[in-house]
Symmetry: C2
Subunit: 469 residues, 2 copies
């Protein structure tokens, strides 16, 4: 399953970690989680930190990392289990595949627990095991006040910082995986566009899109959004049939079997044709998308990319008469956030919000913290970009009743918004255009560039449907 | 969402419970479970006991049942949440939909915790909340020795027994849901059969089958088995491409949005044609399937249905020369279990193994317990059947290396098996035929009867493919 390049990358990751962390490290993979009874479980998803150093998912395993050496702790399934689950690789074979230097039964973990650094095990069962074996609680990096940290918390914090430093920049193994996730995701969205005219509902189109990922043995990296109510940002239900004039917002990404994610959004008309009002706003979002990607390069502050999106959207909304005033002033006052309330993007890697299990530790440069301004508080990434960092760029325009009908906000922005003009755009509920962008030494590379973004190209794709008899 | 018939059934369930349980009852719905970080979660699946009395899934809710009255404890989402998740029903509206008599914030649950009966909350988070609020651990019905139970455990046990008694017989609400799950599952299997000649892999065919369920807004009730290695009973990976001569075993079932399951298996040749050897063994499994269904009626012991399957399979294997001896003797010696090691079926309802969260409490008549005979130990249901009980009937034939290459078993059954003859059936790895069968006052009704079982009909269905250009 792993190539020699993959294994070389795994080896290098462990060496790097050893350079930055003195203490031995233990990381838990976790277990599958029960759905409604013990024998009926959700598909297993290994901890991303485990996947990063072990390279492959393995249930109920622990890895030890010390001085660049990998020790696998794992028990082979019982003989009775092979009747039900088929033959398993031996521990020796698994250890060889991941390039482990040693392999031991799980019961040997407690011999390692003195003065180790770790991160919280990912599931309730594994967390309980971890707590028992370490004889201490593991609360994750940097919780509480640093002055109250004990030696264990300092160790764990140091480990988290080292892992963040490593995982911020994608190596060749990661890039191969991320490109695969991007490619399958593009294929799935194309299939969705090309089959829209054959389908009558959100649920049917979601099935069409996810079936492409499933046929590649990829789960979804997150719950797909496939909705004609694009203004509901985290919509995860699919109850609607299509009506003429609907815009469909699809935010769906594949995850490779080794755990690497894509995260892509497109918005298209279910009829195959944008109305004039839809087209106007689509082009504003697209202008922000293109401007942000053009800006991406090593050293650029991601917060400035976000503000560029805000500026481009504000400027476009002034041009079509929805906002009034100078775009700079409008952004200064967060008026753009009435229609674009979220951040321009986030880290992407093993997690769709990469390393978000560590809070803002990965997304925010040490010493920085979330700003409470309406236009900045949902920004998940505030760091200078560096080469090999992978981010999403995902500007949007939404008419969210909870914001636009909020009396306080209407009062606050009464001079900025032309409500009568806005009413003419009622056929636009939500638009988002999202791509996965790798920072390179030259600037950037869009991993998902094979998927059309221009309104004409999107319409051509939807209309290329071969209608079913 | 709920019809007046549904609501009448819900009302009747609560009245029945009140007749059998004196103490007030609290049941937790649970919460969605994190996949790799807090904001990325598996789809929510409410506790089946909650669903049974509340009728609908609702995250982080508790219901109180006392004297036939329903109290809903639930908090409406925060205003900020509506920006991300859209508008929510009010607690009043939700309470009205489920026919609740009262509705209170979640924080009011602790006012109810004196002397209540309960069952373990379904997820780690909700279990912790339950333990704190009740001020005691909740270990589930009947764990430990009855003589060591305290008053709380007795209450919980009495509740579990009452719920089992209720849920064993499907009412009109349940039957409507179960028929819907069965119908969608049949449609999905038909789509799988009819598209097999267009696909080259297990993963692609799984996608085709599950996309039918997804288009109906139904998750899978359990992880689908779609495999050319049918001898791996709980196979949950999809790595193989099809080879001529492969038999494909598909065990897949839909779950309705309100949580009711189907559980169906068919086995078909990927080429559209059974070989003579495959056909011989398929017909033996089918004979067992048909004989068992014909036997089902109120009062019949399910264990006898299982033994009839064993007898039919043993007899068929004698006829084709794989087993030697009298079928009765072979079953007595468990020789059939070399090839049919699992039980003939199980309860089906809200859970695909209904109420298996209560251990064998539902599957086994009080006073009975698992038998350690090889041919009986995996039987999940050992009760006399009664009207409105829904069970699966799923005989099979498998060549499982862990059994057939086990030296002790080969020694034990050396006089029963003609290994040379068996070698001629090497193109059969696993066959299973499974339907969902409702016990009726007249006998039985197969909810999944629209899906072909006869080998000729199955082949005709596979060959009805309209090949893609």
């Amino acid at each position: 399953m792993l190539t020699s390049v993959d294994r070389a990358c795994l080896h290098h990751r462990r060496q790097q970690l050893a350079d930055w962390v003195e203490d031995p490290v233990l990381l838990w993979s976790g277990t599958s989680v029960s759905r409604n009874f013990a024998a009926n479980r959700f598909p297993f998803r290994a901890s991303s930190h485990f996947l990063y150093f072990a390279g492959m998912p393995l249930q109920n395993a622990v890895i030890g990392l010390a001085a660049g050496q990998l020790t696998l702790f794992w028990d082979e399934p019982s003989p009775e289990s092979t009747v039900w689950h088929g033959p398993s690789l031996s521990r020796r074979d698994v250890a060889e595949q991941m390039g482990a230097d040693d392999h031991l039964p799980l019961s040997a973990v407690p011999t390692w627990t003195l003065a180790v650094a770790t991160l919280p095990a990912p599931t309730a069962d594994s967390l309980q095991q971890q707590t028992e074996w370490l004889g201490r609680s593991v609360s994750g990096s940097g919780s509480g006040h640093p002055q109250e940290w004990d030696r264990h918390m300092e160790r764990d914090h140091q480990l988290a910082q080292a892992i963040i430093r490593l995982r911020l920049q994608q190596d060749d193994f990661a890039l191969t995986q991320l490109q695969q996730a991007a490619q399958i995701t593009v294929e799935a969205h194309l299939q969705g566009m090309r089959s829209t005219l054959n389908h009558a509902s959100e649920a049917a189109l979601r099935a069409e899109i996810e079936s492409v990922m499933m046929a590649h043995q990829c789960p979804t990296a997150y719950t797909s959004i496939v909705t004609v109510q694009g203004e509901i940002l985290h919509n995860d239900i699919y109850p609607h049939t299509f009506a003429p004039g609907d815009l469909l917002l699809v935010d769906a990404g594949a995850e490779t079997p080794l755990g690497w994610a894509a995260d892509v959004t497109r918005t298209w008309p279910v009829s195959g044709h944008f109305s004039a009002t839809q087209r106007d706003l689509y082009d504003i979002v697209l202008a922000a998308h293109d401007a942000c990607i053009a800006q991406i390069a090593p050293g650029v502050e991601f917060r400035d990319v976000h503000l560029l999106a805000a500026q481009t959207i504000a400027s476009g909304l002034v041009d079509v008469g929805i906002l009034r005033g100078q775009p700079e002033d409008l952004v200064e006052r967060d008026a753009h956030a009435l229609f674009f309330p979220h951040g321009i993007g986030h880290l992407l890697g093993l997690d769709v919000h990469d390393m978000e299990d560590l809070g803002d530790g990965a997304g925010y440069e040490p010493g920085r913290q979330r700003c409470d301004r309406m236009g900045l508080r949902y920004l998940r990434l505030d760091r200078p970009l560096c080469s090999q960092m992978l981010v999403t760029i995902e500007p949007g325009f939404y008419q969210i009743p909870a914001l636009l009908h909020n009396p306080d906000l209407r009062q606050q922005y009464r001079d900025c918004v032309n409500w009568d003009r806005l009413a003419q755009f009622e056929d636009v509920r939500g638009i988002r255009i999202e791509d996965d962008v790798l920072v390179t030494s030259e600037g950037s590379q869009v991993l998902t560039s094979a998927l059309p973004t221009q309104a004409d190209d999107v319409m051509a794709c939807v209309n290329s449907t071969s209608l079913k008899e």
